[in-house]
Symmetry: C2
Subunit: 555 residues, 2 copies
């Protein structure tokens, strides 16, 4: 993983000159004034891990399992949100962990938690390091949130827990360790003729444990289900002991405690194994493009498939702006898609499975899509989407290199609330990122042009859908501060419009205060009660998910 | 509802003489020595509700909303398990609530909880009163469990909260109040062309709030989903305030707190509204019978449909014993089914929906069933099942009348664990209810013959299924004590075989100690932490779901 960006550095691709020109002309993007720093030149703060804690940790995981070298600490600093990248490119590693610990077994995880509880060392569970919501950066002291901010901190890197533990072919389940990266998990399952079918955009680097801890949604979730839907059992190491959950797919025996661990983002414990539903690897896969006259018609078509079927495996719909940008890019690179002049909204409708079944579902879905004005575009747009499905984070690096700012955010709601939510988020983004916004006495709007706001629906349910926004603008002088204001405005808009604060990415620290509004003060109290019982010393990801101390009176 | 049994007293049907003879010859059933008491002759303990609490409650719900008459208190005593019925038939109403309170709004529920927290009055949320797991009978003092056992107690009857609050046709959701009985909810939804599709055996009396609080499974759950799968939003009144949960069908924002309320059985709060997924009322419904050579083949056929589809709406498979008994009954009443000599295992495979879709799914499912040796029996057995689908509780009353004992229990597991779980439960039941069992110095086996143990699969998932057992035996001298021992043996067997302690009925008090083993001591601590935060005075259904005080050291 590129320490200052995404993925395999060998796959980095600079933007073509024409694209850079277009960004300059349309969005006012200017080259950054300062180039990114070199890894070697970064000064990491001295490790504050006390010797006694270090010795005890080395006693649990072995000397090789405890790392304090600068490069390892830099590579475990924060996650992969755009602000995270901007800060690390500027050499800011003030949030670096004091050490990185690599346990190899559930028992070693328990041992590490025991040592850290005793020595009051903050523990940041670390899978693929792909959080884009501040899930790997508990607040430091002085940020107004944390009794734990002054404590030394370790990243608990789970990469050594990387085995496929069991396959149950009759029940079609597999038990995976949390540090397995998704492609490796898929490779191990394919040896049994099985697939997990979970392909988030972070697929190449994200881990099974992270999928569970953050309730990941994959690009094929319409067909295979969200990750939280796939999980049938969990093992969790907590400072107070082990939780073993899940004796049957479903039960009437009490609350579903699996659903309390899923989405807990390392604040309640460390997931050390996950048993998931798996399926036979598909015989065939086909992804078709469809054009709809407008987003509303396309949305109605998706809703109809979600409610009445047949359900595709992949079902996505870009709004007019995202369609225009996508078609322009495809056109430019000589792809088969129609040019931007064709207009409308592009949907990708994919089917995976047994050949005969794919054919009949594809035909039946096509008939539904036509009734909403859908026009088939053939396999070209689908193949183009499939080729580039994990490429966006690489493109973001290239955009940052030329001085642009690119970030994503997402929400979900019931179908009846989707149009208002869509409008509210667009308005919040365009309003807060407009050249005038923040250009007052305290503003940093200088150098930033109008933003380009794109949206797609990528996850549908019978009762609702997700909205995934991508925003592209000039970086300007202080893109981190400017984005923090815009993000706050969008979060306010999402909560006001009745949406959930995140459908894909989780809560972390970035969404925490809005999440508290979503579930209300009593909901926060419930989560805090659970955390207090499982993690009484407050060592686990403090300040992530819920504030780690009670709000002040009157707040 | 019959106070001492099930349902509409006008629909009670005595057993035919031939059946009584068969029960005597096969199971040693003898007429009970004592007939049930009359309602009028029951002495209810004097109400212990303090005057100040009664005044305060009447202030919240009005004088008409507070009832302390004997009949109302008797009708809110315990639930509808067979031991519950045996005790009330014997005139034992020692668990009667001291008063019954009928709030009409969410705010009144909050008000009642406030009064009860102040006066330390136990609150037993009461919907249809159909619990079969002791969910309506918190332990009394002296039963070894409860700081709350000495407190006065009220039943919080939700029948006045019986409205359909909203329908969202675009999202296909409906918001229902908890006191709505299922047939009335269905009636209100049908006015909008919609259905809930939730048909547990308790359908005629159970309520929407109870479905949510106890994670109900309906007979058509294979097609429509379990009730907990249908719920997209909840409002909950707790002693510490209101929880409003659910802004989208699914979210990545933290743990799914809806899943903490679902299954909480009134121990965390009172559900005051439920928003559920609804569907268009089906155009057509067809239920076919299929015979399989044996339970193993039938189970494999069901598993294949659950994993690879097409998924029927109703999918049930009786084992050899249940098939034999069912066919004998059908034969006797001149039904079209083959006689018991035909053997094998009967499956009911039903489809509901749009006519064309039903036809194609039915044909495709039939092709799958044939590959497992399934033999189509036509519509007769399916129609017979559909006619009698809510009749079993009436039959139980008739069996109790002639001195037989009939009870049900259920569990679920992953497919690979189903055969061992099936064998373990059968063995525990036949062993613990055999004539010799309990006939020693402390036993009460006298007068009881061998039990008849039947089982069916009625809920399938890709990863596993439920097993639903019915046991029939002679009542004997002390059926309540005898069943308590047998039930303990079965619960031990379920936990040892890796099953969940309940797939249909919930935890209540009857399963509580085994539920604690299922989720482990740390799981219990998590639930207790949540309860302590939402219900610090411990007024809500104390001793139901989790013990209401910490276990003694070393336990």
């Amino acid at each position: 993983m590129l320490w200052s960006g995404w993925g395999d550095p060998a796959r980095a691709t600079p933007l073509p000159a024409a694209a850079v020109e277009l960004l300059r002309d349309l969005l006012g993007v200017r080259p950054p004034k300062v180039p990114p720093v070199a890894l070697e030149s970064i000064e990491v703060p001295p490790s504050r891990l006390p010797g006694a804690a270090a010795d005890a940790l080395a006693g649990v995981v072995g000397a090789g399992g405890l790392r304090t070298d600068a490069e390892t600490r830099i590579r475990h600093t924060r996650g992969k949100s755009t602000p995270d990248l901007l800060r690390v490119r500027a050499g800011d590693v003030s949030d670096a962990p004091d050490a990185v610990v690599l346990p190899g077994t559930h028992e070693e995880v328990l041992g590490v938690l025991g040592v850290c509880a005793e020595h009051l060392v903050t523990v940041i569970p670390f899978g693929g390091g792909t959080s884009v919501v501040g899930g790997l950066a508990p607040p430091r002291a002085g940020s107004g949130s944390s009794r734990a901010g002054d404590r030394p901190r370790i990243a608990l890197d789970l990469r050594r827990l990387d085995r496929l533990l069991a396959v149950d072919p009759l029940s079609r389940t597999a038990t995976l360790q949390p540090g397995l990266r998704a492609p490796r998990a898929e490779e191990l399952l394919r040896e049994h003729g099985l697939t997990l079918g979970h392909y988030p955009q972070s697929y190449e680097w994200a881990t099974v444990g992270g999928f569970a801890a953050a309730r990941s949604s994959g690009q094929a979730s319409t067909g295979y289900g969200r990750f939280d839907d796939m999980v049938v059992a969990l093992t969790v190491a907590t400072p107070e002991g082990t939780l073993e959950l899940g004796r049957a797919p479903k039960s009437a025996a009490g609350p579903d405690l699996r659903q309390l661990v899923l989405g807990s983002e390392g604040a309640f414990g460390v997931i050390t194994s996950v048993t998931v539903r798996v399926r036979p690897a598909p015989e065939t896969a086909v992804y078709d493009g469809w054009r709809f006259p407008a987003f509303a018609e396309g949305t109605a078509a998706l809703r109809t498939l979600a409610q009445d079927g047949p359900l595709p495996t992949v079902l996505r719909l870009a709004d007019e702006t995202e369609t225009m940008v996508g078609l322009a890019r495809a056109h430019e690179s000589g792809g088969p898609a129609a040019g931007p002049e064709a207009g409308g909204c592009l949907a990708i409708v994919g089917f995976e499975g047994v050949a005969g079944d794919v054919a009949s579902r594809r035909a039946a879905a096509g008939a539904v899509l036509r009734t909403f004005g859908g026009e088939p575009l053939g396999g070209g747009p689908g193949e183009s989407w499939a080729r580039g499905r994990f490429a966006a984070p690489y493109l973001r690096d290239a955009l940052l290199d030329v001085g642009a700012f690119a970030e994503t955010l997402e929400t979900a709601a019931f179908w009846s609330g989707i149009p208002a939510l869509y409008a509210a988020v667009r308005e919040a983004l365009t309003g807060s990122l407009a050249p005038a916004a923040g250009a007052g006495p305290h503003g940093t709007g200088h150098g930033a042009g109008r933003p380009l706001v794109m949206c797609h629906i990528s996850h549908v349910y019978p009762a609702g859908a997700s909205l995934y926004f991508t925003v592209l603008s000039a970086g300007g002088d202080d893109a981190v501060a400017r984005w923090a204001r815009a993000k706050g405005a969008v979060n306010d808009a999402i909560i006001a419009a009745g949406g959930t604060i995140s459908h894909h990415h989780g809560v972390g620290t970035d969404h925490r205060d809005w999440y508290a509004r979503e579930i209300g003060p009593l909901g926060v109290e419930v989560l805090r009660a659970v955390k207090d019982r499982l993690d009484p010393a407050g060592i686990l990801n403090p300040g992530v998910l819920v504030p780690d101390h009670p709000p002040a009176p009157g707040r």
